[in-house]
Symmetry: C2
Subunit: 371 residues, 2 copies
């Protein structure tokens, strides 16, 4: 594969982190390629409840012949040749299998939503801490170099000023099959529905823009759409911080594909329309305006917003695997402690999801968020 | 002036509509130029409470020497040589002077917000109807040809599907002088503050996207910012329609210049970042995506949104004057009836503003909108 060739030319100081994939979800295809692309990672095993399914996954994705198909999650977690696992299981199974992975000393790259609630997440994070393994949720856009560029501008008081509002939307139009059969509409699998899936990104981006300061309250909009089983297909909310700043988000399985993030300060504003999955893999844009006003007769803007293009050799999901593997290598080979940042921002995301869910359940009243 | 030369080469079938401007507000500078640019309009008089101020306005804006300076609003309204007035007075004065204009048979191009409430607007509209004069509020972007292009796409079920959500933001960062002295922060002049000024555009755009169907309720966000006199400096709300679609808007004097409109249907989405005042006068962009999905491994979009550029010979404010004058000429010269569309959409905008204001006053409860 082209990916393997590229990897062969990269010098790594330690041996690559050996990954096992726990569960052959569709998203695992993308992440298996990301593991192949990351210079400090290698895929050694794919685990499924059926060995056939694991074998088929390996064949269909043209993975290296050295990747082993494993017929049970336990067997994969018990394998001493596996350093870390990527776990794209349905969320309802995280509580069991993520804890099991941590207890066997496996570093954990966990698909989002990390858990069905903060209460369910805490034992996972506790197990990771107790066993000294790195935890990271699989939110890819955070690792795109565009994100760091945007962060730099938002953190510059002379160009952005003080943060006032964050607006985010993630929607896609799910077809009939999805709305009937996808795990994200099933109360026993991904009971958080669109809030846990699409809303996760909106909430994470709001926290990111606010430098991960927790909002004080969440208040859901009065038009959530639920399916017959009570799973959220569409909803939105406002998040309010102590200082008056606001985040507004909307997430949905029922509207055309949209991935907007707008961040407005006193002196600047940032727009990106593909913040979760960039339009193209190797190049991502955003626009930024600073101290914009009007022309003399208010017939145009000056200065105009500027377009920023950030290129990347590796796609964001490979950069995620690379960063996770770098941290794992530090623990495995140099006795480092796990990086606290990642479980911390996962937990904050989950706390806000809990509050939005509670606001929907309580008739759209504001719900306090306690850290 | 270049504008006059351009006009001289335009063939008009009827004599131009003769405008008087009632009040020398800053925005009147832009509209006086628009009247000069519109091929079927001509400015004949500028009225102010002081003749000096009217003279200074004429001189400073290099208006034609034939434009008369008039030292009182009454005198201008009594002038038989004036067909129509543009009225950029503080909103608290509209009730008196807009009615006075209609009673004297002057067609009325009224600066927004049209009134402080629907209850205050109704006598204005009634006076216009009773005297057979055309009413139009001075919302310029509606007249940009870009708006018609966007409307065409939103109305195409095969490209846009069913409307699901509208997201709009209009904010600008007001300086200290504005926050102290501008009429838009004074309870006795423009008591609706940012809601009447910036919010007007968000609400109008939401109605426009929904084909002017009134929402059922408005629910304000819980973080309005008011000044010491109780005037709104920043607020937001959701509007909900019977069928579940939602409009979300945020308007503010306290955040960097932002003019976003996003409209999402089941099959398409539209983005524009300068919907009220385009970045440039003669060319305006928007982006539109239809049936977008992901590449096979979910590492990019396909198809990508397409960028649309719409050019215009005349700026949108001149197109507004031209359209208003066309309707007035039809009444004056051909015995047409006033076009009902314009007062109707003004009233709907005002009804929604009333509901948002009431929701703020009632502790952020949903407020019903009755047409």
């Amino acid at each position: 594969m082209a990916e393997e060739k590229a990897k062969a030319t990269t010098t790594t100081t330690t041996s690559p982190i050996r990954f096992g994939i726990v569960g052959c979800a569709e998203i695992a295809r993308k992440v298996s390629r990301a593991i192949a692309l990351a210079p400090n990672a290698t895929l050694v095993a794919v685990g499924s409840r059926s060995p056939d399914k694991a074998r088929r996954f390996i064949a269909e994705n043209a993975l290296s012949s050295s990747v082993r198909a494993v017929g049970s999650y336990e067997e994969l977690l018990d394998d001493p040749a596996v350093d870390a696992v990527y776990m794209p299981l349905p969320t309802s199974l995280h509580a069991r299998w993520a804890v099991a992975a941590a207890e066997r000393g496996k570093h954990l790259l966990l698909e989002k939503p990390a858990a069905l609630s903060a209460a369910e997440l805490d034992p996972i994070l506790a197990a990771c801490a107790a066993h000294g393994v790195q935890f990271m949720d699989s939110t890819m856009w955070i690792h795109n170099p565009r994100t760091a560029h945007m962060r730099g501008l938002l953190s510059d008081p002379s160009r952005f000023g003080d943060l006032k509002m964050i607006n985010s939307i993630f929607s896609f139009y799910a077809d009939e099959d999805f709305l009937k059969n996808d795990i994200r509409v099933k109360p026993d699998l991904d009971a958080l529905g669109a809030l846990g899936d699409a809303g996760w990104y909106c909430i994470r981006s709001s926290l990111w823009a606010a430098d991960y300061q927790l909002p004080k309250t969440a208040t859901a909009f009065r038009n959530p759409v639920l399916n017959d089983a009570g799973v959220i297909l569409s909803c939105g909310a406002t998040l309010l911080w102590e200082d008056g700043k606001i985040a507004i988000f909307h997430c949905s399985f029922l509207s055309h594909l949209t991935m907007d993030l707008t961040v407005i300060g006193t002196r600047g504003s940032l727009h990106v329309n593909d913040f979760i999955i960039p339009y193209e893999e190797k190049s991502a844009e955003f626009s930024f305006a600073s101290d914009s006003g009007f022309t003399e007769l208010v017939t145009g803007w000056q200065p105009l917003p500027s377009k920023h293009v950030v290129t990347t050799e590796l796609p964001q999901e490979a950069l995620m695997v690379q960063e996770f593997s770098r941290l794992v290598a530090g623990i495995r080979d140099s006795g480092n402690k796990p990086e606290e940042k990642w479980p911390t921002i996962t937990r904050k995301t989950q706390l806000v999801i809990d509050a939005v869910k509670a606001s929907i359940d309580k008739g759209f009243e504001p719900v306090e968020i306690v850290g």
